[in-house]
């Protein structure tokens, strides 16, 4: 059935052609991009052969935006306008940031639950700053791979909450990246290792990066990567090791006064350098000039490995506590763990390795570069999602890291979805009115493990209106939580007797509204070169082609599920879409896509149900 003959430049009408897809590890300190080429997953270097891009963005007074190594060199002399480790601010409020990270050299502005950093180019939201990094990685990939990308898999720490995940996805959208999936960093690492070794059994992934710590327990079986539990800390990483060194140096020098932004930056860099050197030598001498209450002051001394280990012992211990909890949540004993995989730059610290080894009583695996393993795993998943491996048996089954619930009477949280529930998931809970004639109900969505509202993270609030005025306790309000495969939440509330519905895609506090993203795309510096209209048109055309290809493949694969009426209707809808795709009206293409989608819906549904039957009868013994 030859349905398609559309070939755009750079696109092929051949559905079996290799599609370009990338995996991005958007890290706290460094970011990487990888892709599968000729069957091999590799990190893509920049034009100078460097594999990782420092996650640093500099906003120059001359309206220039630099990212990466060039930006990093500005950190010391222009600290306020050089945003380092922006990932720590995603989906976070000012109070959060100040209580977790203490003194930082930035000017934060918080308005109506939205946080930005004031730079020489005005206010920049952490999502915009992250988008700058993603944009550079996308450009780097496109120039290396030589073509348009169908999309990217972007990794996030497993412990990221909904606000942080949504922030990451919004940043990708700003950067013009089609997000195939958000996946958890440890899961990505497991994919990179699992496919390498082909092992089956329980695996623990210990992932200590620049700013976050994750532990995931997975079960590997016949290509299925099933996450059993996950845990960690979104605010614990190598940056904190650096801070501990700085604290210790300042304490030794007896300095407890306010320091300038420049001095803070210098000290942070010093802390990082000392940490790195202590991996190889036993003691480091340092000398640094800082400004304390505007008076320059020189401090010097030596910092030993023992000093370092003493100062980070509590942090490392707290990661091991998370490991114990994750094992317990997975209902797995330590000795059932087949392998322990080390991920993230901070697992280079010998003390960390020793402690992890002692805890699991097993030599941890470090055969894949701990800095690259996440990006590599993400690229393997991206290759699969792009449709380059139709016969692959691989499947990732991930979980939601934190419990989700609703506020009930007395400031308590009623859990609707407990942590470590496999996603995607849909769960409903029913509530009732507590006053006679009550016509509205406030719904407050929370994330976290604690029982009190104040101890959990507030994700969103919305109001269900037009409840029919009834006696208290009669109206039944059904609140449904849906978590999709990206781990993102949407919530709907429905009054059952009248069917009054209120739904929101949870746009958490500190996130962006869709129109804000659209505005930012229009005004953004990085995208000014591109014609927005052309970009939209192009996206619609790519969507149209992708859809026609997929449908063509489906019709060829299961013609028996195609009823006569369907076939005719679908072919007509395809004809319309083909015609629209030849034009330049993006809106017309969009409508034609929607029309084809609706027309082919019954066929798609039949295919889905049939696939389940085939999956079972193929293996069922009682059925011949």
């Amino acid at each position: 059935m030859a349905l398609l003959q559309i070939a755009e430049p750079g696109q092929s009408a051949n559905p079996h052609e290799h599609k370009l897809a990338i995996g991005i590890d958007l890290g706290t300190t460094n970011s990487l991009v990888a892709s599968v080429r000729s069957g091999e997953a590799k990190v893509l270097p920049d034009s100078q052969g460097r594999f990782s891009l420092p996650s640093v963005v500099h906003y120059g007074a001359d309206r220039s935006v630099t990212v990466g190594f060039d930006a990093k060199t500005n950190a010391e002399h222009d600290p306020e306008n050089t945003i380092v480790s922006v990932k720590r601010f995603l989906g976070r409020g000012l109070a959060d940031i100040q209580s977790t990270y203490g003194k930082l050299p930035y000017i934060f502005v918080e308005k109506e639950n939205k946080l930005s950093l004031l730079t020489s180019q005005g206010e920049k939201n952490p999502i915009e700053v992250s988008a700058e990094i993603l944009y550079v990685l996308k450009q780097q990939a496109e120039s290396t791979l030589g073509g348009d990308l169908v999309g990217a898999v972007i990794t996030v720490p497993a412990h990221f909450d909904d606000a942080q995940r949504q922030g990451t996805k919004d940043a990708a959208q700003l950067a013009g990246i089609n997000v195939l999936r958000l996946i958890n960093e440890p899961t990505a690492a497991a994919v990179a290792y699992g496919l390498d070794s082909g092992q089956e059994g329980i695996v623990a992934i210990y992932d200590l990066g620049g700013g976050t710590f994750d532990i995931s327990i997975l079960r590997l079986n016949k290509g299925v990567f099933e996450v059993l539990s996950t845990g960690g800390d979104t605010a614990l990483g190598g940056d904190d090791f650096d801070s501990k060194i700085v604290e210790s140096i300042l304490a030794k020098a007896g300095i407890d006064t306010e320091l300038s932004a420049k001095s803070l930056r210098k000290l942070a860099d010093l802390g990082c350098k000392i940490k790195e050197q202590l991996s190889d030598i036993d003691s480091v001498d340092y000398e640094i000039e800082i400004e304390s209450e505007t008076t320059p002051q020189k401090i010097s001394g030596s910092f030993s490995k023992q000093d370092f280990e003493n100062s980070i012992a509590d942090l490392v211990k707290s990661t091991l506590r998370s490991c114990r909890r994750a094992l317990k949540d997975a209902d797995v004993e330590k000795d059932q763990v087949l392998e322990v995989v080390m991920v993230g730059g901070s697992t280079r610290v010998p003390f960390v390795r020793e402690q992890v080894k002692a805890f699991f009583d097993k030599e941890p695996l470090t055969s894949i570069d701990p800095d690259q393993v996440v990006a590599i795993g993400a690229s393997i998943q991206a290759d699969l999602l792009a449709g380059n491996k139709p016969d692959s048996d691989m499947l990732l089954l991930d979980v939601t890291p934190l419990s989700l619930g609703l506020e009930t009477m007395g400031g308590l949280v009623e859990k609707v979805i407990p942590r470590n529930t496999t996603i995607p998931v849909a769960r409903a809970q029913e509530f009732t009115t507590y006053k006679d004639g009550q016509t509205m109900m406030a719904i407050h969505v929370l994330q976290g493990e604690r029982e009190l509202v104040d101890d959990c993270r507030s994700l969103a609030r919305f109001v269900l209106k037009d409840i029919p005025p009834l006696t208290a306790g009669i109206a039944v309000i059904r609140v449904t939580f849906n978590i999709d495969a990206d781990g993102l939440l949407s919530v709907t509330a429905l009054e059952k007797s009248t069917g009054v519905e209120s739904s929101i895609q949870v746009k958490p506090s500190y996130g962006l509204e869709q129109f804000e993203i659209a505005d930012m795309i229009k005004s953004s510096m990085t995208n000014a070169k591109e014609d927005i209209q052309a970009r939209m048109l192009r996206e619609q055309q790519v969507d149209a082609i992708r859809m026609m290809e997929a449908l063509d493949a489906a019709m060829t694969e299961s013609p028996e599920l195609l009823l006569d009426d369907d076939q005719l209707a679908i072919e007509q809808a395809i004809g319309k879409l083909k015609l629209a795709t030849k034009g330049t009206d993006g809106q017309a293409i969009k409508h034609a896509i929607k029309f084809l989608d609706d027309t082919s819906q019954p066929f798609a549904a039949r295919r889905m149900e049939n696939s389940i039957k085939v999956a079972l009868t193929g293996h069922s013994v009682d059925k011949v």
């Binding site: 099933e226 114990r324 499947l395 529930t421 495969a485 896509i593 798609a604 889905m608 696939s611």
Partner: protein, 172 residues
């Protein structure tokens, strides 16, 4: 029953968990959104919905208490969401005694051993009421089967609480 049918398993509390897991994986390999990443919006939605249902069905059948709750709920006894008080005085007295025992565990000389004994007691009760549930269910006495499940809920909750206390005491 829908969930048992989905995995083509007989409706029974005794379940072949390996077979359940194997069939769960096979079905997810087909319906999971990762296998429909290039599909149309409608198909993507269909896939998320189907995968969510399959996850829910698996989760429900996998854990004994969830499975029992589901089996009686299909016969009209929604023990999970009902406001129902247990009137069995002997059972309630036993629960109170167990709770008192739990509170005293903290001061035991060998905490781990004390908890192990406590868990053994709980396990005995679980077996007792699980057996009761199964036989009542098989005889079609769903009211009595539901009653056993309500009691099982109490016992499982007690076990969870005991584990939380143990965790705190042993500095997990």
């Amino acid at each position: 029953m829908r969930f048992f049918d989905l995995f083509e398993l007989p409706v029974s509390f005794q379940i072949d968990s390996d077979l359940l897991l194997e069939r769960y994986r096979e079905i997810q390999k087909k319906v999971h959104p990762d296998n429909h990443a290039n599909a149309s919006d409608n198909e993507k939605l269909l896939s998320v919905q189907r995968a969510s249902e399959v996850n829910d069905a698996y989760e429900t059948l996998k854990k004994p208490l969830n499975r029992a709750e589901y089996m009686v709920s299909e016969h009209g006894f929604d023990v999970r969401h009902e406001q129902h008080t247990i009137r069995d005085g002997v059972f309630l007295m036993q629960q109170m005694e167990l709770r008192e025992e739990l509170e005293e565990l903290e001061s035991a000389s060998d905490i781990e051993a004390a908890f192990d004994r406590f868990y053994a007691d709980i396990k005995k009760l679980m077996t007792e009421y699980t057996t009761k549930f199964e036989s009542e269910f098989e005889q079609g006495s769903y009211e009595l089967a539901a009653d056993a499940v309500r009691k099982l809920r109490f016992i499982y909750k007690l076990k969870d609480e005991a584990q939380q206390i143990e965790e705190k005491l042993l500095d997990f």
